[in-house]
């Protein structure tokens, strides 16, 4: 049942089927304002420029416009220095835009009342050493004006949820993974409607990452909005409903993961064995120039489905056993590299 141990690597998040399943959160979510805006986050023509000591103007964000619908997981990806953290800081009221407008739950991010409805896990979180996990969460809750009684009920359940129920030592003894789990717990302590997570799986082992993904999906199912900033593109691809690629301060692409990872029109045909007869049969259909063999696998882009079927017939006529035929899909990573590399995918 995911009992916590003082070992960051070994600690596990309590599974979704644990005795506590955010029941209190669900109750609170049900009580959310029914007039809540359908867009949790909205950014219009946001520009942020800095002036260096030498008077040079540096543009961190350039006319960025995007929105995040309520109850979805939104992924923001980009290279280092693309402006992701600047954007998140503006959305949390930590930074001010040079021009443009940002809205958080229909309000200005500088509005403290709006921020009370938001949770945030920063990328590089510093936890003061003197805190214990419970005290830290109490303090974070108090800063969000969470009722003490509510926190007394919520904090043990949250610690259980992130696998830190038994962690009674000061935070200074925590491993990186444990600190990250505590960071997640503090982001949830005020029962937020919108959650900003900056590299939430940083420092977690593969099991911990899987737990975070499950947690995110569960939170989305409860109607919460999640704004995810991660370098782990596979992770973003797995959980996000919509993704924006930020490149040099501009929105380079915006789509769903399916749209990003669409087929390239190429197919991989894997056969049991390759000899000259097989190559010749394939060349008849595909042509010598466009066929690309890698060991037992032929990669080619058919004009249409009939050409693909023709290839299959020819190969079976050799005869050779066909092990698999699969369309080539672009991974999010491939797509991302093409976008930031300047190639049009």
């Amino acid at each position: 049942m995911g009992r916590a141990r003082h070992d960051g690597a070994a600690a596990r998040f309590a599974p979704v089927s644990s005795h506590w399943q955010f029941t209190e959160f669900e109750r609170d979510v049900a009580a959310l304002d029914e007039t809540m805006t359908s867009q949790a986050v909205e950014v219009r023509d946001l520009t942020k420029t800095y002036r260096t000591f030498r008077g040079k103007t540096v543009s961190a964000l350039n006319n960025v416009s995007l929105y995040v619908e309520t109850g979805t997981i939104f992924g923001l990806i980009g290279q280092n220095g693309a402006g992701k953290t600047t954007l998140i800081k503006i959305l949390l009221g930590l930074g001010t835009p040079t021009t443009g407008e940002a809205q958080l739950l229909g309000n200005s991010p500088r509005d403290a009342a709006a921020r009370r409805r938001v949770g945030y896990l920063p990328e590089q979180m510093r936890l003061p050493d003197y805190f214990q996990a419970k005290n830290f969460l109490l303090y974070m809750g108090r800063l969000n004006r969470v009722d003490r009684d509510a926190m007394e009920r919520r904090i043990p359940a949250l610690l259980e949820r992130v696998g830190l129920a038994d962690a009674r030592n000061p935070v200074k003894t925590f491993s990186k993974g444990m600190r990250q789990r505590l960071g997640l717990a503090q982001a949830l302590v005020n029962n937020p409607e919108v959650l900003f997570l900056d590299e939430p799986t940083d420092g977690l082992d593969p099991l911990g990452r899987k737990d975070v993904r499950e947690l995110l999906v569960q939170l989305r199912a409860e109607g919460r909005t999640i704004f995810l900033n991660s370098h782990l593109l596979s992770e973003v691809e797995l959980v996000c409903d919509r993704i924006v690629i930020l490149n040099k301060g501009k929105v380079a692409r915006e789509a769903t993961p399916d749209e990003f990872t669409r087929g390239t029109g190429e197919y991989l045909v894997r056969v049991a064995a390759v000899d000259d007869a097989v190559r010749a049969a394939a060349a008849v259909v595909v042509g010598d120039g466009s066929a690309e063999w890698t060991q037992n696998t032929l990669r080619f882009a058919p004009h249409d489905r009939a050409q693909l079927n023709c290839l299959v017939d020819r190969l079976r006529g050799v005869p050779v056993e066909i092990e698999s035929i699969e369309p080539v899909r672009l991974s999010l990573e491939d797509f991302f590299l093409q976008v930031v590399g300047g190639e049009e995918p």
């Binding site: 949390l92 930590l94 001010t96 009342a113 920063p122 979180m125 003061p128 004006r145 900003f196």
Partner: protein, 269 residues
Amino acid sequence: MFATFVNSLRESMSRRVALVLFGVAILVAVAFNSVVHVRALANGEMMIFVGTQTPMPPLTGVPSLLQSDLRATGSLWLLLALFAAAPLLTATLENGWLELVFSKGTARWRIFLGRFLGGLTLYSLTFVLATLPLALRLWWTTGVATWRVGVALLIQTFSFAALLAVTALVTLPQKGVALPLIASAAIWLLSPSLAMRQETFYRIFSSHIARGIIDWAYRILPKCSELEDLCMSFVERGVIVSSWPIWSTGLFTLAILGMTVWMLERKSF
């Protein structure tokens, strides 16, 4: 603000310099109490004995001893407490922590002010710890009222608040605790020279403009040394000789705190 205030006290207790401050406060209290003795003479007259010095009657001895106590703790305490309290302010703006607290649903100025008050409380608590035991004991054994120490404590806290406000202001545009400490310590060191500028700076600067600048510096900056003198005279005579150092320092503190809050609220992190 209260949550931040309480947390700043907890945080200060985790820092070595605050523990040293508490340790020194206890040492000062123990030292003064161990050298001061109140005994009745053969004729029944109560006298205060301090080591080998001539015994003093309570009416003059009590204020004199309290003055010594305040003098021993006063200035030194101000500086020690600055070292303990300044990190409370600078730590608020450390990367990784400021993102965590300033993104929460509490206004920045409340968080910062809570920590400022925490620093002030740290100073007052340790000051009380150092001076109150002797004051209480003297009052208990001699019957001479020692409440004036409380007023002196308030005046000294006023002085400390001005220096801590400078620390808070200098914390904003840069990282680290060194520069804020240097700035407030410099003001503290400058205050006696500015108060006696005719005997100090005027001898160096004969220019009318330079002297004008020095005069304005005196008028604007906190009057720590004069406030300390005010404490002594109040403990001795029970009279506030001049209210000028109090209200001008108060105005300075309010202006600096106001400027700090204004800058903090506008600052883009």
